[in-house]
């Protein structure tokens, strides 16, 4: 069972980094208390993981047949990649790191299957675009009812507060359901864990990252998003949650960081303002290539050396 330590480490880094995409806005703007946010995220991440987390296992399993040792090194490579890229302040995504790591390990072991890769890459490309589209649509649809039926300032404040809470809980649920496969998918594929054990341990390890090490990222990333008004922030977060949940049903883990960027861009389109600069788009494109590549190389050499 020691082999799942690298997966728990990966889940911990995921939880500490990605919780900012969920409640970052509310916490940075002092609408929601940090403690309330991390408790809610943890509960809904575990719920999402245990209720729908198994849906993404199959996709990762098809990439390569790994042994339990191979799974350990793949998760270790993905976790190390996340750690290095985060340290270098380069954009990275767990979903992209684990895919690179599995393929790197699969190449050494001769079990890599690239046939499903097109679907995964297509989903990575589509996630921010879908989030932007959903954000654009939700802004208009919810905005229509908001402007028409919620005219009182008190009711508007309450609506947005509840909306941010709902979007946050939904986002946490979607994070758990979509990303738990990144954490324990390789172990389930290798038979080291049953699917239920996989979603439970994965969900708990993500929650541990949320509860112990998310404050710094949540407040810094959150402040970047709160430059928008609260309604726009609510729409961006809701569209991110919808997008990630949709890709859970497609069965492909995607990046919540890239989905929230899509959501912010969608709001920018409505308002005719530039919410994201060229560097952010460039960073996403770099992340799509660098994260799986670095992770794949680390995984390749770890397997080469130790197996």
């Amino acid at each position: 069972m020691w082999k799942i330590i690298s997966g728990i480490f990966l889940g911990w880094t995921l939880g500490s980094n990605d919780s900012a995409n969920i409640f970052g806005t509310g916490v940075a703007a002092n609408i929601i208390k940090y403690k309330t946010a991390i408790i809610l995220i943890s509960i809904f991440v575990i719920l999402g993981a245990t209720m729908e987390g198994e849906k993404c296992f199959a996709t990762l399993d098809k990439l390569s047949n790994l042994t339990s040792k191979g799974s350990f090194f793949a998760a270790l490579a993905a976790g190390t990649t996340m750690f290095i890229l985060t340290y270098l302040a380069l954009p990275c995504s767990t979903s992209q790191a684990i895919v690179g790591a599995i393929l790197g390990a699969g190449i050494v072991l001769g079990t890599a299957d690239f046939s499903i890769l097109y679907k995964i890459i297509l989903c990575w490309l589509l996630a921010p675009l879908a989030a932007a589209f959903i954000s654009f649509m939700l802004y208009h649809i919810i905005g229509f009812f908001f402007e028409r039926y919620i005219t009182d300032l008190k009711k508007r404040s309450l609506f947005i507060l509840l909306g941010l809470l709902f979007a946050g809980c939904f986002g946490a649920f979607a994070l758990g359901s979509n990303n738990v496969a990144n954490v324990t998918g390789t172990y389930v594929g290798s038979g080291l864990l049953t699917p239920f054990e996989g979603v439970l341990i994965g969900g708990l390890s993500i929650a541990s990252g949320v509860l112990t090490y998310s404050k710094k990222v949540m407040t810094t990333v959150g402040k970047e998003i709160t430059r928008m008004d609260e309604y726009s922030a609510f729409i961006a977060e809701l569209s991110e949650a919808f997008t990630v949940e949709i890709f859970t049903h497609v069965g492909v883990p995607v990046s919540t960081s890239q989905a929230i960027v899509g959501g912010v861009v969608g709001v920018g389109f409505v308002k005719g303002v530039k919410t994201i600069n060229k560097n952010t788009v460039f960073n996403i494109a770099i992340g799509w290539i660098s994260t799986p590549l670095v992770s794949g190389i680390i995984s390749y050499f770890l397997i080469k050396i130790f197996i």
């Binding site: 703007a29 609408i31 005219t151 008190k154 609260e230």
Partner: protein
């Protein structure tokens, strides 16, 4: 207990608005008495203006405390507090105008006396529209268009007051008074029109808050 904090803030805001209104009305009476050479009455009224302004200030601090205990969302909270600050500056302006008259005792020539009073009446009159606009802003109905109309009226009155100031200043400098006296009267009329300038600044702040609050 839904909206408890917001309701408390709204009640205090309306109380503050009434105090500012009372402050302006009393300052108008103060200047009116001064211009009619009833200095003792004017002094008493000026003390009352000072006390009303202090009351308004206490209410403002109470509102700030309530706001930071969690009423409204942060961005709206900032805008409301800015609006409150601007409203308070109107009362400050009225107080400072009365102080100018009673501390410096400007000697207003008889032919300019009714025009100073007219300017003071016009300068304080714009507040009535601002007051209605603020009340509508915190009401439960959507009165955005009505509020905008009221705010436009504030702007129109302010332009009229500016014109009066320009004409009075020109006429002051046409008189045979000594230069120091002319400058003193010029300062005096500036204090009078400062009130409507502050009312207009507050109206602008309210308009910004409305625009930012919309989608």
């Amino acid at each position: 207990m839904l909206y408890r904090k917001e309701k408390e803030v709204n009640e205090l805001l309306l109380k503050h608005l009434e105090k500012v209104d009372e402050c302006l009305k009393t300052s108008l009476l103060t200047v009116e008495n001064y211009l009619n050479s009833k200095i003792e009455d004017a002094k008493e009224l000026a003390k009352k203006v000072d006390s009303i302004e202090t009351d308004a200030d206490f209410i403002r601090h109470e509102i700030i405390g309530k706001m930071y205990s969690g009423a409204y969302l942060p961005l709206l909270r900032e805008d409301i507090l800015h609006l409150l600050e601007q409203l308070d500056k109107i009362a400050d302006g009225a107080e400072s105008c009365c102080d100018f008259f009673l501390d410096q005792r400007p000697e207003i020539p008889d032919d300019l006396n009714p025009r100073f009073l007219g300017a003071m009446q016009a300068s304080t009159s714009s507040f009535a529209f601002l007051k209605d606009a603020v009340i509508s802003f915190f009401s439960e109905k959507d009165e955005t268009e009505n509020i905008r109309e009221m705010l436009k009226k504030v702007g129109i009155i302010e332009s009229g007051v500016d014109k009066q100031e320009w004409d009075i200043t020109r006429d002051i400098f046409k008189t045979n008074l000594d230069y120091g006296h002319k400058v003193h009267l010029r300062h005096c009329i500036q204090r009078v029109v400062e009130i409507s300038d502050r009312v207009e600044d507050t109206a602008d702040q309210l308009e910004i808050t409305i625009i930012k609050g919309g989608i």
